[in-house]
């Protein structure tokens, strides 16, 4: 293998593959969403039917609520955890491993984990009962307790997906030369201002990556919601699933998919714009 064509031969298979299973379905989804029934021609019929559905507004509202609560909490928690790792003298590797365990746990399994804690006869209620705080099992995950149900999903997401943010932040911290912080502290900077003025700005690219990845995945949230709330709390992707599977209406399902993709893309663009590295700053 030599010559100018070698790299193209090496990347060609993956390009073809992603073309067939990423770009093509992407175009198909959009085409399907704008199709009018079986007739040729395009229109917004599927979107109109999507918006007329009872669950649509709830799904949008719930998805946004969860994303807006979960993502900032995850970023803050991950920053705290990453800084704590830096101050550990011994056992850093084992602690990092424990904290990154949820990385391997699927959202469905995470939902089931928190179902074990939060169901009527679960461990939370048992604990509260033992402490004498409640007299009988309480329900948190029903239609009548939307606030608690939302809280449960936020908790489960926080538990499951903070790890991915943590790993990205830790990887980013390793790229920042130690000398910067040391120099600043020689000149009398407090740990807080070192964090604010040096660590945080240099960490921007990692924070950007983490936020993009997390927000996209949070819009895609599915198994965790179904495991905890069943059909009590609709979100965008679970609605797409219902339209595709229960109603066999591929057009409306595709319309939901387009909404999710548009939101993900918009979030990505916002992050790219807001968190771009300042001019003249080291990459």
């Amino acid at each position: 293998m030599r010559g100018r064509f070698a790299p193209y031969l090496l990347i060609a298979p993956s390009v073809l593959f992603l073309g067939a299973l990423f770009l093509l379905p992407l175009v198909q989804t959009i085409a399907l969403a704008f199709q009018e029934g079986s007739a040729p021609g395009f229109g917004l019929g599927n979107f109109a039917r999507m918006a007329d559905d009872l669950n649509f507004q709830d799904a949008v509202r719930n998805t946004f609520r969860i994303v807006l609560i979960v993502v900032p909490l995850q970023l803050s928690l991950a920053l705290v955890m990453a800084l704590m790792l830096g101050h550990l003298r011994r056992g850093r590797d084992i602690v990092l491993w424990i904290w990154s365990i949820p990385l391997g746990i699927s959202d469905l399994a995470a939902g089931l984990v928190w179902l074990a804690l939060l169901n009527d006869r679960g461990f939370l209620n048992s604990g509260l009962f033992r402490l004498g705080l409640i007299a009988a099992p309480q329900s948190y995950l029903t239609y009548e307790t939307p606030g608690a149900l939302l809280g449960a999903i936020v908790l489960a997401e926080l538990w499951r997906a903070t790890a991915i943010v943590l790993v990205i932040i830790v990887a980013g911290l390793q790229l920042i030369p130690k000398e910067y912080g040391e120099a600043a502290s020689v000149f009398g900077a407090s740990p807080w201002s070192i964090f604010r003025r040096i660590t945080l700005p240099l960490l921007k690219p990692s924070i950007q990556t983490a936020l993009i990845l997390r927000t996209v995945l949070a819009f895609e949230m599915f198994g965790i919601v179904l495991a905890l709330g069943g059909r009590n709390i609709p979100v965008l992707v679970s609605e797409a699933y219902n339209w595709q599977y229960a109603n066999q209406d591929y057009g409306v399902a595709a319309a939901y998919a387009v909404v999710v993709m548009a939101l993900s893309l918009a979030a990505t663009l916002v992050y790219l714009r807001v968190l771009r590295p300042a001019r003249g700053q080291m990459p």
Partner: protein
């Protein structure tokens, strides 16, 4: 100072407990069976410790079949990712060529999209091609999810291996291919294994695409999702536990390589 250190260390311990205790509680739910799940109030330790509940869960015909399907799908996903991802990673690491930036952009673009949801239109095409409701069809979709990660991790792997080693091999008369298989590959092998394991975990955990693309040949995650509303709690917990255990093992195996796959170091 020591008080502050104490507060700090207890914070670390609390966060470890926050990660581990829920898994422990699910494990109790998984092994304590129907009686244990309805017990009130619960204790933090299993009352009738026994793995017979888990064993019974795995003896359910469909569960066993779904688990096998999951493994089958994940292995195929892994193979596809390695076969397509490692060469592309090598190209990114070793050659500078026109279009490299565009290619990188394509890889990063997949991250700005919820790829799993693209399974929706694939249903129609897969039915036509006879791939619907097959393990191979799901594996293809999962590979599309995992391939960008495989490319990025292997690119950073190959970048970390000094070019001089390869060049020395060429000087001694090795062809490019031979230098790769004899010199680069042995060094990169542990990292490539980690890439493979990561692809396996992505596939093992994926539930949306697997649910959409199958009816009868469900993966374990898709099967659990499908029977979620009609199965008793202890079965759900057992299922969750079976889903989690391999994931934890695999994260342990790839812990060294968790950092290279986010495209931070190499962009």
């Amino acid at each position: 100072m020591t008080v502050r250190r104490g507060i700090f260390l207890s914070g670390v311990v609390v966060l470890c407990a926050w990660t581990l205790v829920p898994i422990w509680l699910l494990a109790i739910g998984a092994v304590s069976g129907r009686a244990g799940v309805s017990a009130w109030p619960k204790s933090l330790f299993p009352s009738s410790a026994g793995l017979d509940v888990l064993a019974a869960f795995l003896r359910i015909d469909e569960v066993w079949r779904a688990t096998l399907t999951s493994v089958e799908v994940a292995l195929m996903c892994m193979a596809i990712c390695l076969a397509l991802g490692a060469p592309a990673g090598y190209a990114l690491a070793r050659y500078s060529f026109r279009g490299a930036t565009t290619y990188r952009l394509l890889i990063l673009l997949t991250r700005a999209f919820p790829v799993g949801i693209l399974a929706l239109p694939l249903t129609v095409g897969f039915i036509r091609l006879g791939l619907y409701d097959t393990a191979f069809g799901v594996a293809l979709m999962h590979a599309a999810l995992a391939l960008p990660f495989a490319v990025l991790v292997s690119a950073s792997l190959f970048q970390a291996i000094p070019r001089e080693l390869e060049e020395a091999a060429w000087v001694f008369g090795c062809s490019r291919l031979r230098a790769f298989t004899r010199v680069v590959l042995p060094i990169a092998l542990p990292g490539i294994a980690a890439t493979a394991i990561f692809a396996f975990v992505i596939s093992w955990n994926e539930v949306f695409a697997a649910s959409v693309l199958t009816v009868r040949h469900r993966t374990l995650a898709a099967y659990l999702l499908a029977v979620l509303s009609e199965s008793p709690l202890h079965v759900q917990f057992a299922g969750g536990f079976v889903l989690i255990v391999p994931a934890i093992l695999f994260i342990f195996l790839v812990r060294r390589h968790l950092f290279s796959m986010w495209g931070i170091a190499n962009r």
